[in-house]
């Protein structure tokens, strides 16, 4: 299937690595993209298989596969020629989720208001909020704060200047906070029952 055949030993080693990493890769793909997570994992595996001989340190195989996935994701965005629409920083900069929760006080009987707000969000709720963000803000946010990549590494993987990534992280965080509040309002998370 892949156009560069590996030696039998390499093929066995690759299959073992990939099989172990498939759940993690799928999870990352689901956070990066709204649709086509499986296709993204497949593309990642095919690319990785073709260049498996370039993996110098087998123990770094997981991070190597994740890097290939982010590259595949970046190429997909370019191929789809999605218009990059930056959000003006002044549109979101004034929003503070901390302040909004304190002022709106959704759980009047709570002594841990802000923690309770976060506890109201399940795994699917977090993903739903992430998917409300434009790709250019979601990807750096996911890679930095959910997957633990360094900002310089994110800039390299997404092929963007470090300053651009830092600015998008800033806006992405603000957008995420604003969308968390809006999502919570729209989906009934702002009731005492939601935190139980």
């Amino acid at each position: 299937m892949a156009d560069i055949p590996q030696s039998p030993a390499s093929k066995v080693a690759f299959e073992a690595l990939a099989r172990e990493q498939i759940p993690r890769l799928y999870s990352l793909a689901r956070r990066l993209t709204d649709t086509g997570a499986e296709d993204l994992v497949q593309e990642c595996l095919l690319r990785a298989y073709r260049s498996f001989d370039t993996l110098a340190e087998p123990e770094a195989g997981g991070a190597w596969l994740q890097s290939i996935m982010v590259n595949a994701f970046r190429d997909r965005l370019r191929k789809e020629s999605r218009a990059v629409k930056e959000v003006a920083v002044e549109d979101v900069d004034d929003f503070s989720l901390y302040r909004t929760i304190a002022e709106e006080d959704p759980f009047p009987y709570s002594d841990t208001l802000h923690v309770d707000f976060l506890r109201a969000f399940g795994k699917e709720d977090v993903r739903a909020v992430l998917m409300r963000l434009p790709d250019i803000y979601r990807a750096p946010l996911v890679l930095r704060y959910m997957e633990g990549f360094a900002t310089k590494e994110i800039a390299r993987l997404l092929d963007a200047p470090l300053g651009t990534i830092l600015a998008r992280l800033h806006r992405g965080r603000k957008l995420f906070e604003r969308e968390m509040w809006t999502y919570a309002e729209e989906n009934g998370l702002l009731s005492q029952e939601a935190t139980r």
């Binding site: 299937m1 690759f14 299959e15 499986e38 497949q42 802000h114 976060l118 969000f121 959910m146 965080r173």
Partner: protein
């Protein structure tokens, strides 16, 4: 008063809190943020919430892979 000692307003401090937690600000900026936090209880609350939100994102569970998707991807590996 030197630049490092200048008290910055809440808006400046809050804008830089995540970068501060990421250690992505200069030593001078860190000093100004810490100077602000030393007297501003509200921004200390913002800082604690930023820490909680970061921990919340880090701890968000991995998405479980549906069995049919896992099987399909493993078949792809076998057919390479």
């Amino acid at each position: 008063m030197t630049g490092a000692q200048r008290i910055i307003p809440c808006s400046d401090a809050v804008r830089q809190l995540w970068d501060y937690l990421d250690q992505a600000v200069s030593p001078e900026e860190a000093t100004r943020i810490e100077g602000h936090l030393a007297f501003c209880r509200k921004c200390c609350g913002e800082l604690e919430f930023a820490k909680e939100l970061q921990a919340f994102l880090r701890s968000n569970e991995v998405e479980e892979i549906p069995p049919d998707v896992k099987e399909h991807l493993e078949r792809l590996l076998r057919e390479l």
